[in-house]
């Protein structure tokens, strides 16, 4: 009896420790980022850092303006959504409502496999296949906003498909049967009753996709061209916040390095906003649900 009690408290301690580990990691990363990044931002000047359009860290005197990269990250993410969201949601609808069971056995693992491919492989695929195709058919040098958007669009598919599909499956069957009973066709029942009912779940999938797209690094750095500029067309090159960090981390020193960590802070704030909106969507769906 007493032995059982001791075991109980001991195990409670173990679980507490494991729970603490992940929280501690988040807290330590926050402390590291903000302690290193905020002083650097202050040294450079907040408005000059966030609003500056000139990034030349090795010049004397140097300039550290990341405005073009913030815009770059937003453009690339938006481009990925334009390609990934329609394909992802329609695939999820197909998998959940229209797909024959035998085909499902092939398609579902295939979409999951997409999530398991390392991002550097996506990058090489983009560099070897998509960049030359764009150079041939759209002009420019190929390494572009368009190339990054296409590859990221493919990369966020598994996230959007997975989350959306389970959201669609969670809609009670009675909605569908009700729509059918009122005389709607199968397609109409699915797109007019089930899809609207699973709206918040699908939205959650899209938000997760945004998170993945904005944080992606290795694939983007190979195919985006990485010019510090606001692209004027989709065949122009673009540099994202993540690409800026990974490009220059290896050789940077002093304030340059701190400026890169500050770039990380900006990225972190973006991710934080995405996570918060994710929470908001979740709580709203619970209130309604």
């Amino acid at each position: 009896m007493r032995l059982g009690k001791i075991r109980e408290t001991a195990m409670q301690g173990v679980f507490f420790l494991t729970a603490i580990t992940s929280i501690a990691a988040v807290v330590i990363i926050c402390i590291f980022l903000f302690c290193n990044g905020i002083p650097a931002m202050a040294k450079i000047g907040f408005s000059e850092f966030l609003g500056g359009q000139k990034w030349s860290p090795t010049n004397v005197p140097p300039s550290f303006g990341i405005f073009d990269m913030i815009i770059g990250s937003i453009y690339v993410t938006a481009g990925a959504l334009v390609i990934g969201v329609p394909v992802g949601i329609l695939t999820a609808v197909f998998l959940a409502r229209f797909c024959p069971a035998s085909l499902y056995k092939v398609l579902k693992p295939a979409t999951e496999l997409l999530a398991g491919i390392p991002s550097i492989v996506y990058g090489f695929f983009g560099l070897m296949v998509i960049v030359p195709l764009i150079r041939q058919y759209f002009g420019g040098n190929g390494s572009s906003l368009l190339a990054a958007s296409i590859v990221l669009g493919i990369m966020i598919l598994p996230t959007i498909i997975g989350v959306s599909e389970s959201a669609i499956r969670a809609v009670p069957e009675s909605y569908y049967e009700g729509a059918l009973a009122l005389g709607a066709t199968k397609e109409r029942s699915v797109f007019k009753t089930i899809l609207p009912a699973s709206k918040s779940g699908v939205l959650a999938g899209v938000v997760l996709g945004i998170g993945r797209a904005i944080g992606e690094t290795m694939a983007v750095v190979l195919i985006a061209g990485n010019q510090v500029q606001i692209p004027k067309s989709i065949t122009d090159g673009v540099r994202t916040l993540t690409a800026n960090i990974v490009l220059e981390m290896g050789y940077s020193t002093g304030l340059h390095r701190e400026a890169l960590i500050a770039t990380g802070v900006v990225l972190f704030v973006f991710i934080l906003l995405i996570t918060l909106s994710m929470q908001a969507i979740k709580s709203r769906s619970e209130n309604h649900g």
Partner: protein, 306 residues
């Protein structure tokens, strides 16, 4: 039974498309190969009216630092230095990716370490001088940079002996044998062969030759153990300053904050080759032309190749 036919059919189509894809890609490779073989004979398939795709390395890269300084893309005016590299330049953080970009794009130009040069791209002459180790050594080839090592003043006896070896005629011979250029005129190595371990950390440009040097040094001093870790110039300097390693390697000159704490020694020189696509008819550029291309004054190949 009927339901099984569909997935099988799809699988079969996928397989076929894979074979078809592979077939067409090998065809492409074949035609590329033949076109590069015949390029010297006909040279008709290069479209000189194309916009030049400028490929550069990231800010802070040792290769870029040396390149912009030597070509005059870096403009010094009193205390200010401004890197005038055109903003539309594709920026890449590895030598391999530069080669891939130039190899696949007729209109591209890039620059890489002479040691990394291979047949997939074409190195142009600079002011009529070919990019070879001999020309870097004689100083005729204008674009070259130092390979540096740096260490704290309290260097261990064995590490000091290793540095002596690198700068001796024996060590410099190893450097020359590997295609780099020697810098020291010291006599043969005559060290005391002390016992101990040396940890060397730093630039991936320097580490291949450093490994050869360590091998040769261990052959003459079997008491020593040399451990080399490859990362990058800045990491090497930081490790040397934090004393987590004995010797740091850098493919660039040391920054002021690094010089305050470390002693800098140049152990070798390396050339930087300006490379273009194999189909490109251009095979000679002046330093001013390279500068004009990288600062965005020259934007199409027809301004250079007639």
């Amino acid at each position: 039974m009927k339901k099984k036919i569909l997935p099988i059919a799809i699988a079969a189509t996928l397989m076929l498309s894979i074979f078809a894809g592979c077939g067409s890609s090998t065809e492409n490779a074949g035609s590329n190969g033949s076109s590069s073989n015949t390029a010297s004979a006909s040279q008709t398939n290069f479209d000189a009216s194309k916009q030049i795709t400028v490929v550069t390395r990231e800010e802070g890269s040792g290769t870029r630092d040396a390149f912009v300084e030597l070509t005059g893309v870096l403009v010094k005016d009193g205390d200010t230095k401004t890197d005038k590299t055109v903003t539309s330049a594709v920026t890449i953080n590895s030598t391999e990716a530069v080669i891939t970009n130039v190899k696949d794009n007729d209109a591209a130009i890039g620059y890489i370490s002479l040691g990394s040069l291979n047949d997939s791209v074409k190195a142009v002459k600079i002011g009529g001088v070919e990019a070879t180790a001999e020309n870097v050594k004689s100083g005729d080839f204008a674009i070259n940079r130092p390979f540096n090592i740096a260490y704290k003043s309290n260097l261990s006896e064995v590490a000091k002996d290793f540095v002596d070896y690198i700068l001796s005629s024996d060590g410099q011979k190893v450097i020359e044998d590997n295609g780099y250029v020697s810098v020291s005129e010291n006599g043969a190595y005559s060290g005391s062969k002390p016992e101990g371990k040396v940890v060397v950390v730093g630039s991936s440009s320097v580490s291949p030759v450093m490994e050869k040097l360590a091998e040769a040094y261990k052959a003459v001093n079997s008491n020593a153990d040399i451990e080399i870790t490859t990362s990058d110039s800045s990491a090497g300097m930081q490790a040397a300053m934090a004393e987590t390693c004995d010797i740091g390697m850098a493919s660039r000159a040391l920054k002021d904050e690094e010089k305050n704490e470390l002693t800098e020694t140049t152990i070798a020189k390396d050339g930087i080759a300006v490379v273009v696509n194999n189909n490109n008819t251009c095979d000679n550029l002046t330093l001013d032309q390279v500068k004009a291309i990288y600062t965005g004054e020259t934007t199409v190949w027809s301004d250079i190749v007639k």
